[in-house]
């Protein structure tokens, strides 16, 4: 019972944050509501027993990625978004489409899922076990992601550096 109440509470916070992201006009408000979504998702991971995933969610997503977002918003001095004709068309088709889609997903899941339920902390994911899996069974994907991150770092540096002409003028 407590599990269900906790799930519903954090789930409500999560959905409220996601809806707030869509409603807000200023990007900084959207970014802060995305932080709320990620924080309450970390709580949902804890309810499922994935403690290490929850910790990484807070550190990497709510921490590093969102700091990057807020930093870019501040750097570019992003103001309120202006609405155009295209955005009105997208709103007319997008919101009903989203409602229909999520109702369809919910209906299918409720109709065709078994009665399987998960208890609090159903599958504990301690860092030791996860690390063993990561460095043993998934060693090749792990090494490939390290190459991906290296390429991403170089790409970000190359793309964000000022253009050649601007540098020569200095």
């Amino acid at each position: 019972m407590v599990h269900l109440i906790l799930f519903l509470g954090f789930g409500a916070v999560c959905v409220a944050g996601a809806v707030n992201l869509l409603v807000q006009r200023h990007p900084i408000n959207s970014a802060l509501s995305l932080v709320v979504v990620m924080g309450s998702l970390a709580a949902e991971y804890l309810l499922l027993g994935a403690e290490f995933v929850a910790a990484v969610q807070v550190i990497v997503y709510a921490g590093a990625v969102m700091v990057l977002f807020v930093f870019v918003i501040m750097l570019l001095n992003a103001g309120e978004e202006e609405h155009t004709k295209g955005s009105r068309v997208a709103m007319i088709f997008g919101i009903p489409g989203m409602l229909v889609g999520s109702l369809l997903i919910a209906w299918v899941l409720l109709e065709h899922s078994g009665t399987a339920a998960v208890a609090v902390g159903a599958l504990p994911g301690p860092p030791k076990t996860l690390g063993w899996l990561l460095f043993h069974d998934y060693l090749l994907p792990f090494e490939v992601t390290s190459v991906l991150v290296l390429i991403a770092i170089m790409g970000a540096v190359v793309l964000a550096a000022p253009p050649e002409s601007a540098r020569r003028r200095d």
């Binding site: 499922l48 995933v53 990484v56 992003a78 919101i95 997903i105 970000a156 793309l159 964000a160």
Partner: protein
């Protein structure tokens, strides 16, 4: 005890919110945040299925998704900075030419 389908419905709602944001938002940074929201919804379903089938591989895949999302955020925000430097706008409706 919470049914797995509740977790999946929550992840479906998050994904649908992300898709809607991607469609209705006109600020390129907010569109990017909607993509992050979609990735988070998928992560939740990974962890829920891992708990249902008692397989820790689901949690390992969440880490891979996070790594790809972090790399994508770094490169994407660099692209946004480059776009802003040449166009001086963040509105995607005004960024409609590949060439200046």
């Amino acid at each position: 005890m919470v049914p797995v389908s509740y977790y999946l419905i929550l992840s479906g709602i998050l994904f649908a919110c992300g898709v809607t944001g991607f469609l209705i938002k006109r600020n390129i940074i907010t569109i990017f945040m909607s993509i992050e929201l979609m990735l988070n919804g998928v992560n939740l379903s990974f962890v829920a299925f891992a708990a249902q089938w008692k397989a820790l591989s689901g949690q390992v895949f969440v880490f891979f998704v996070m790594v790809v999302a972090a790399a994508e955020a770094a490169v994407g925000l660099a692209i946004i900075i480059a776009v802003y430097r040449t166009r001086e706008t963040l509105n995607v409706d005004q960024v409609n030419l590949l060439k200046l």
